[in-house]
């Protein structure tokens, strides 16, 4: 899931907009009709729907300056979850989708079941650009019939965000390199240091177990589904072992039992409630936004370490797709193509921290590291480029996001609050799996 909340007010307002759409079944975003695609001097209106912190605003302006006949009407939905509801409802209704919609990796499994509702971008020359992207990103956007339905925007290689001053208080190394060395190893190492930190300070190590679990699962060759699309939870010894590992750490008090996407209005990032945080590239913008909402700043001491327990992992990342219902497919393809060019991906990264999915942009970021003032001048682009190495694309089944949020979410929260043992929580997850997924 790729979600973010700038402020709770804005998020509820946007959530409400989605609700209103759902409730009335109405479509708001429609392409203007009579304009010919390719428009020779004719005014063309293109609608685009994104979510979370996408960092596209300046790019829209730039594109409109370059193409005076194009007017971009943009809509951004607060969280990935609400965007998913929005897209699925409009797909179900058969109308109302924008000319360009952003799709998130986590719901791609469901989308691929109806991939013929999206334009095959090979008609607009995406094949010539195939080698621009990291190969697995391009693969993810390809359906079983070989149709390519999405221009890759960003990927979510994961590193560890940590709070320097808190590490220092606990007598741990607090510089980026020292932390990377300290946490180098598997999850057992991460929880071991967490136990030391807890013993020293009496405070939690990570914000809540849901994000940690997400990373632990995303990193496996096969997650909730096997590569051939079979459910892969019951009797999966590897998954169970990781669950027990997480449960033990959580029950010992390493989890701060925060509610995700709220973190007490961001205050928990400021008041030292927890010391480490799971950080895919796009999460950097979320962390910064929440810290600032909670009254913090660069002085709060968050930093970004070039390390991730258990090896490389990817969380999220998005695609730009064009629904078959669009009236301006060709112009929409041009815009989506332009937005996902390496140059633009770098600008997007600078605006929102979303790590590029094209090789050229990644190399550029690695070669010319820009210090990020909020994260103690960490060269986040360079670090993320390193973290992206060795990422494998895991097969996402149709109910992947449902399993993550609604099958494992509740038992993990029960663990956070210490209401269940590891065995009870696992049994609860299996029961929910049987009830919710069929």
């Amino acid at each position: 899931m790729r979600l973010s909340r700038a402020t709770s007010a804005a998020s509820i307002a946007a959530g409400t907009a989605v609700l209103a759409l759902v409730a009335s079944g109405c479509a708001t975003d429609t392409a203007t009709g009579p304009n010919e695609p390719g428009g020779n001097g004719k005014q063309i209106e293109l609608t685009i729907t994104t979510f979370g912190t996408f960092g596209y605003e300046a790019l829209y302006e730039e594109y409109m300056d370059l193409n005076p006949n194009v007017r971009i009407v943009a809509n951004n939905i607060d969280t990935g979850g609400n965007a998913r509801t929005d897209v699925f409802t409009k797909l179900g209704a058969g109308s109302g989708l924008s000319d360009i919609v952003a799709l998130e990796e986590g719901w791609l499994g469901s989308i691929m079941e109806v991939s013929d509702r999206f334009v095959d971008l090979r008609e607009y020359g995406i094949e010539d650009r195939g080698s621009d992207w990291v190969d697995w990103k391009y693969q993810q956007a390809t359906d079983p019939d070989g149709r390519v339905i999405g221009y890759g925007t960003d990927i979510g290689p994961e590193g560890i965000c940590f709070n320097g001053p808190l590490f220092e208080e606990a007598g741990l190394p607090s510089d980026r390199e020292g932390v990377a060395e300290l946490l180098d190893g598997g999850w057992d190492r991460y929880f071991e240091v967490g136990a030391d930190y807890l013993a020293e300070t009496g405070r939690a190590w990570y914000d809540h177990s849901g994000f940690v679990w997400n990373a632990m699962v995303n990193q496996l060759d096969e997650g909730y589904y096997t590569s051939s699309g079979e459910l892969n939870v019951e009797g999966n010894a590897e998954l169970r072992a990781r669950f027990d590992q997480l449960a033990e750490a959580t029950l010992s008090g390493q989890s701060a039992a925060q509610s995700a996407w709220d973190w007490n209005g961001g205050q928990s990032f400021v008041d030292g409630t927890f010391a480490t945080f799971i950080c895919p590239g796009w999460m950097l913008g979320v962390l910064q936004g929440n810290t600032e909402a909670g009254g913090g700043s660069a002085d709060t001491g968050w930093d970004f370490a070039d390390v991730f327990p258990g090896g490389a992992a990817n969380w999220g990342g998005a695609f730009l797709a064009i629904p078959e219902t669009s009236n301006n497919k060709e112009e929409a393809a041009k815009l989506a193509d332009w937005l996902t060019q390496p140059e633009q991906q770098i600008k997007q990264f600078e605006a929102a921290g979303t790590f590029p999915s094209t090789l050229e942009a990644q190399q550029e970021l690695a070669a010319n590291p820009i210090p990020n003032a909020f994260f103690n001048d960490a060269p986040v682009g360079e670090i993320l480029a390193g973290r992206a190495e060795g990422v494998i694309a895991q097969f996402k089944g149709p109910d992947d996001s449902l399993i993550q949020e609604n099958v494992f979410g509740p038992p993990l929260q029960a663990l956070d609050r210490g209401e269940m043992t590891a065995d009870e929580a696992w049994a609860e997850a299996l029961q929910l799996l049987n009830e919710l997924v069929d």
Binding site: S8, G15, G81, E113, V114, N264, E435, L436
Partner: protein, 351 residues
Amino acid sequence: MTDTLPRTAAAGDAPGTPSPADANGRTRRRRRWSLSRLDMAASPYLYIAPFFVLFAVTGLFPLVYTLVVSLHDWPLLQGQGDFVGLENFATVLGDRFFWNSIGNTLSIFLLSTIPQLAVALVLASILDQHLKARTFWRMSVLLPYVVTPVAVALIFTNVFNEQSGLVNNLIGLVGIDPIQWKNDVLASHVAIATMVNWRWTGYNTLILLAAMQAVPRDLHESAAIDGAGAARRFFSITIPSIRPTVIFVIITATIGGLQIFAEPRLFDVSNAGGIGGSQRQFQTTVLYLWEMAFFRGDFGRAAAIAWLLFLLIVAIGLVNFAISRRIASVETARISRRAQRRLAAHQGGTR
């Protein structure tokens, strides 16, 4: 007026033979007469037709279509699938989350309706007194009603924040441990009922106040002369007199209460996709319907839930109807008994 000319022109015709023009005029008159008859017969229906046409389009059609959907396998994205008969209904009835949602709905309904009515009654009777700036007070109780439920939910979600919300801060001052408003089942129901109460109490107050003002003042005066105190007059005169209005308020509160959606949907927006708490602590039936349709993408089962909820509301509505009819007949019985007694007394007097 136009047919007078041909008639004079035809005046020279032999009497007895009906002139063609005359016949023409008669048919025209007949036609006009039948038109006006048609007008008499059909117009009333045409006048009320817009409502029924609108109802058929926006009420009846969705109702029937929902039934059709509920009998099919119907994924949100793929659309209509196989006909499955009543399987969706069976699955929903066997689903613990459905019964959980019914329980939550009833619990929130009771927690909101009972205090709401009690407070509305008291407020209405206070507003019924001779207060200064009466209109000001009466308008101000309606103020919360103007705010949309979404804004109410937003404000109260903040107030009931578990870590640093207003309520937990206040009870912390008197040494009570913070309450887990979004995790504890009963606490979450109280929080949501508070939102509902805050919004609807003023509205009900005004309806009850209108009814109270229709209670004859002389009843109050004579009771006061007989020595009945304010409380006694409230329970023995005011409440019995406005009983039909109370029944109306209860029925509307029931219908509204069984359809609570916005408040639980927005109380914990992102947790588990906003389906009413991580463990569905405050998932109402409408929210469960929403989850089934738009989160889990199973339209068939969602349609079945919609129908089951519809039947439940009809059932509760019928119970309400029976009760209100019984109360109405008790009233008339009492009145006629009183009339008979008075009549008997009168006759006794003259005899």
